[in-house]
């Protein structure tokens, strides 16, 4: 009867080939390798520019709010952590009346940023937002709004949109032709 199978002979050969000793030696050599750990509070990790961290609301170059209150971010949010209410100023420009992000729910997926048609909502490379009180993780509009343009410099939604607001009529936007007189027969 053949007691020793191929597998046993393989194990036996491995013993003879000292492959186990070799792997132990290689592990031992890791003692002298460079550490992978970043000792966090003393040493900050390098975050790339497109790192998905804390969410901010940006402004356009003229320091007006970029957000037009279209609700697309709230609709895209898989965990429903964004809530807002759109309103209009007297000139017809839309803006959010309140804008609230519950960061205790947010999963930092970045779908809101992808959904935003005006580059208003953006994720920035910052994650240090721990709180002792859960309620403090609910950010209101004044906590979210920053005095800057974030990642997309020089973009002003109302300057390129066809919508007429106070101070900018139809056809006055960038790259926009004057409105066509539909009642005229001339080209």
């Amino acid at each position: 009867m053949n007691v020793w199978r191929d597998q046993d002979i393989f194990i036996f050969k491995q013993e003879l080939m000292f492959s186990i000793i070799r792997s132990m030696w290689l592990t031992f050599l890791h003692m002298f390798h460079k550490r992978e750990t970043i000792l966090y509070p003393e040493e900050k990790p390098k975050l790339t520019a497109r790192w998905r961290g804390r969410i901010v609301l940006t402004r356009d170059p003229d320091m007006g709010e970029r957000c037009v209150g279209c609700y697309l971010c709230a609709a895209a949010c898989p965990v429903d952590c964004i809530s807002l209410q759109a309103t209009e100023d007297p000139t017809g420009r839309r803006y959010p009346e309140f804008f609230r992000i519950n960061f205790s729910r947010c999963i930092f997926c970045g779908y809101c940023e992808e959904a935003c048609p005006t580059y208003a909502i953006q994720l920035i490379p910052d994650f240090e937002m721990a709180e002792y009180n859960r309620q403090n993780l609910v950010y209101e509009k004044e906590d979210l709004l920053i005095n800057g343009q974030g990642k997309y410099q020089g973009y002003n939604y109302y300057k390129v949109a066809g919508l007429a607001i106070g101070g900018k009529g139809k056809g006055q936007a960038q790259n926009e032709n004057p409105p066509v007189d539909v009642k005229s027969l001339l080209p």
Partner: protein
């Protein structure tokens, strides 16, 4: 060299030393594993993070000590005690230095084998009393592993016993003054070490508690300090096997005179503790049937051949050829 300490002092020192070093190994193991995995390991609490031991112990004490309602309570309670008792019993016969051992009984090695066999009971009883299929699987594996590896653990020591002509560890260490037994008994040393790893069910032979297959094996249902007992019992087992390897094969306390004998013993023991942790860092766990095959089909023949060759050589040396 024959100064005898008060036995109570020796018992207290050995017990205190082991119970101090065993939790310290938690820290040592984490630091060393981290070292070999390009990390730092615990380095926050206290100097080099040693206070992680205190934090761990406090955490275990304050955890809810839950006994499952479906468990066999008495047996469930007694199993963690057995692992500690059996591991600590082994230290009775360890010669730390001349005159510094709890007792120098003339059947020291037999006593150790008996005490370590008791350890199998803790696994079987713990797994059985948990009334949990994973715990029972772990217990069955543990029982099979410990029983089969004990066979040639005893047989591999017998080579040393033949050479020294004594079962007393004190005599065995003293007879290594000229040559450590690791040289003539290299096969015995290797098999003893492998059997010792299997006996303490450390990686790569942690089949009874393999986390990835059967959760935590025999101690799946344990929590709080009862789990801590299994945990510390494992480390006590590591120290025991390491110090026994040193006493049997590496000349025990023997060493150059510039260090006291106890220091030599502890230094050599720690080398083997390091080896245990290095094994954990580098080797994967074999399958259960591979473990059994390896034991019965490879290690057992090697130990028997080693035993017979040793016996024949000793016989020829004493009586000439043909005797």
């Amino acid at each position: 060299m024959d100064e005898r300490f008060n036995p109570i002092v020796i018992v207290a020192a050995v017990l205190g030393g082991v119970m101090l070093v065993a939790p310290g190994l938690i820290w040592l193991e984490r630091r060393l594993l981290a070292l070999w995995q390009d990390r730092y390991g615990p380095n926050r609490a206290g100097p080099f993070g040693v206070l992680i031991v205190l934090a761990d112990t406090l955490k275990l004490f304050f955890k809810e000590d839950w006994i499952p309602p479906f468990a066999d309570k008495k047996v469930f309670f007694i199993a963690p005690a057995i692992v500690m008792i059996s591991a600590l019993m082994g230290f009775v016969i360890i010669p730390f230095s001349p005159g510094f051992m709890v007792t120098n009984i003339n059947i020291g090695i037999l006593f150790f084998l008996a005490a370590s066999s008791m350890g199998a009971y803790s696994i079987i009883l713990g797994g059985w009393a948990s009334n949990n299929k994973y715990a029972l699987l772990g217990a069955m594996r543990g029982a099979a592993q410990m029983i089969s590896y004990e066979v040639f653990m005893g047989l591999s020591i017998m080579g040393v016993v033949i050479l020294s002509g004594s079962l007393s560890l004190h005599t065995i260490v003293e007879s290594q003054a000229d040559l450590w037994y690791v040289v003539p008994q290299f096969a015995g040393f290797v098999t003893f070490l492998i059997a010792g790893i299997a006996e303490t069910h450390r990686l790569p032979f942690d089949i009874p508690e393999s986390e990835s297959e059967i959760i935590a094996g025999f101690h799946s249902e344990y929590s709080g300090m009862k789990f801590g007992m299994f945990f510390v019992g494992e480390y006590v087992g590591i120290i025991l096997i390491s110090s026994l390897t040193v006493a049997l094969y590496f000349g025990g306390w023997l060493g150059p005179d510039f260090l006291p004998p106890v220091v030599w013993f502890v230094l050599k023991t720690f080398v083997f503790i390091f080896l245990f942790i290095l094994l954990r860092a580098s080797l994967p766990r074999p399958r259960y049937d591979q473990l059994m095959d390896f034991g019965w089909k490879i290690l057992l023949p090697i130990t028997i051949i080693n035993l017979m060759v040793t016996a024949a050589v000793v016989l020829v040396q004493e009586h000439g050829w043909p005797y």
